[in-house]
Amino acid sequence: MLEIKNIHAKAGDKDILKNLNLTVKPGEVHAIMGPNGSGKSTLGNLLAGMPHVQATEGSVSFKGKDLLELEPEERAGEGVFLAFQYPVEIPGVNNMYFLRTAYNAQRKYRGQDGIDSAGFMRMVKDKIKQLHMKDDLLKRPVNVGFSGGEKKRNEVFQMAVLEPTLAILDETDSGLDIDALKIVADGVNQLRSEDRSFIIITHYQRLLDYIEPDYVHVLADGEIVKSGTKKLALELEEQGYGWLDV
């Protein structure tokens, strides 16, 4: 599904990712942990196509396509979704309208017909319930005045509606209360399937109690310095990153 080979990348004019390799197969859940500033978000941003993050070396292939060649919206159309660490506020653009525009744009990209606003409303009603989203958040401008947790939940709601094949969650668990954490984990678990993959960036192994990862990687100073199973996350939780000698 996703093959990252020998990636070097800059954020702005700073070299951040250095010789990063990662392969994600369909159905797998990969957790990425690592110290602040190690490049975790940069990796997510690189995959989603953020303009100020540029690869200088290496390749990323997604379902056989050269991902780095595609525009951000094309990547979304191909099934890539990034839940932002810091979701952006967009005053004056209604959340529901935004999401329907996105949904229809992706359908168009895949050569499918659009859906009208009533149809869309019916479609999302379930997901709203599942994620215990407050209805009024959908009527409000995108993320404007949302609490930290509400913003994160909105990201997961978008993911649930857009049903990506590769979802990258960048610290979606940070700032969530226990109930919200379970809801977010439920959201991910409901989407889990043989042909969907997840990259979950987190600082806390707590989330991984709810979302069982297949692999845990440690990203330090722009490269993956250790990979293991869920046990690695527990070790990191207990001992921090010092023992890895990074």
């Binding site: 196509g49 953020m50 919206e73």
Partner: protein, 385 residues
């Protein structure tokens, strides 16, 4: 030497019959013409015309293309101002009185006396040929709407229109001003009596080579309220001045403007608020975008005289440049001579929020649509009603 470098008289549409006009008014126009002869024509040395090419006022032919304006709702009172004169509805509701503008006493405010910066707007005083004087009674239903449609056919010469809109004490009304067609120079006088509330919408969306010049003067008495929403978009030249005088206390003037210059549009949006009395509030919000080689000039000025304590002023001008050739000048200004005043002002010029554009794109929305959405998002902050 200052002189009539701009031939105001030659550039005007044939004036409709003025033989039923009172002699006093004809004399007034004549003396206005004399004043005008000695005034400098607009040019880049003038503050108000520094960022707009005044030479364009002299263009011969503007073409016949117009941006379609939706038909007004059937429930509204529609008054059309054409090059020939005024078309009023056959049935006028009892809360409204419509007279020809020449049939009433003229407001004593005069652009000619205010500042030579207003020379183009002041030419209206010398040259206006028609318009309406509206008087709105307090019994007007709250949802009542008057639509002023400027629809002149002659696209080359200027048509000078002047209207007086008076709201009686306690009256509440919406006035929609729409430019449908014509090269219009308009002066409007809004007189808002105690406790009255004017909700005003101005829509000037012009095809590429059209021009529009406007002066709107608002006098607010005690506890009067003005909510004014302006959209200025496109065209060759747009020059708007909003002049506000507080004549009593506890009144509020709140205005939001959206200015959008594309191609080679020049738009000036100038607001002057005079806090001559205590405890009045003014809030001016502009959101302007310039693309291609378009230019926008935003100027919000407030003057607070000595002893006008308790005045409250808010000026919020934000601007976005969408191309390298586009230009925006943005100037909040305050002259405060009173001691106790609450004032805030801000002015920024930036580019579209690319982080937000990326957020939208990352959800599958194409870049162009994402940019359009962000422009709408930016404009919304200036939507006040």
């Amino acid at each position: 030497m200052a002189g009539l470098t701009f031939d105001w008289l030659a550039a005007v549409n044939e004036q409709s019959e003025k033989n039923n006009w009172p002699e006093g008014l004809l004399n007034k126009q004549q003396s206005a013409i004399e004043v005008l002869k000695n005034w400098q024509a607009p040019n880049r040395k003038s503050e108000y015309w520094r960022y707009s090419d005044a030479g364009r006022l002299k263009k011969d032919s503007l073409g016949h293309e117009w941006v379609a304006v939706p038909e007004p709702e059937e429930t509204s009172v529609v008054i059309s101002l054409t090059e020939q004169g005024v078309q009023s509805p056959s049935h006028v509701p009892d809360w409204l009185e419509i007279k020809p503008v020449h049939a009433v006493d003229q407001p004593d405010w005069s652009a000619l006396k205010a500042t030579p910066e207003l020379v183009v707007q002041a030419s209206n005083e010398a040259l206006f040929s028609h318009g309406v004087a509206l008087s709105v009674a307090s019994g007007a239903p709250k949802n009542a709407t008057i639509v002023l449609r400027y629809a002149a056919d002659e696209p080359n010469q200027w048509t000078y229109v002047r209207n007086i809109i008076s709201l009686e004490a306690g009256a509440e009304i919406t006035v929609d001003e729409q430019v449908v067609a014509g090269r219009i120079n308009v002066n409007n006088f809004y007189q808002i009596a105690d406790g009255a509330h004017l909700k005003r919408h101005q829509q000037v969306v012009l095809a590429a080579d059209q021009q529009h010049v406007a002066l709107h003067h608002f006098s607010l008495h005690n506890e009067a309220q003005v909510t004014s929403q302006n959209r200025h978009e496109g065209g060759d030249l747009q020059h708007h001045v909003h002049w506000v005088d507080f004549l009593g206390e506890q009144a509020e003037y709140k205005a939001g403007s959206i200015n959008k210059a594309t191609n080679s549009t020049h738009i000036s949006d100038i607001v002057m608020v005079n806090h001559q009395h205590k405890n009045n509030r003014s809030e001016v919000i502009h959101r302007s975008l310039a693309d291609d080689s378009g230019q926008v000039f935003n100027n919000a000025k407030a003057v607070v005289v000595k002893h006008a304590d308790g005045s409250e002023i808010d000026q919020d001008l934000k601007n976005i440049l969408l191309s390298e050739d586009a230009k925006i000048a943005s100037k909040p200004e305050m002259e405060v001579y009173a001691d106790e005043v609450i004032a805030a002002h801000g002015s920024t010029i930036g580019t579209l929020d690319e982080e937000a554009v990326f957020y939208l794109q990352s959800r599958g929305i194409p870049a162009d649509t994402a940019r359009d959405m962000m422009m709408v998002s930016f404009e919304q902050e200036a939507l006040i009603c």
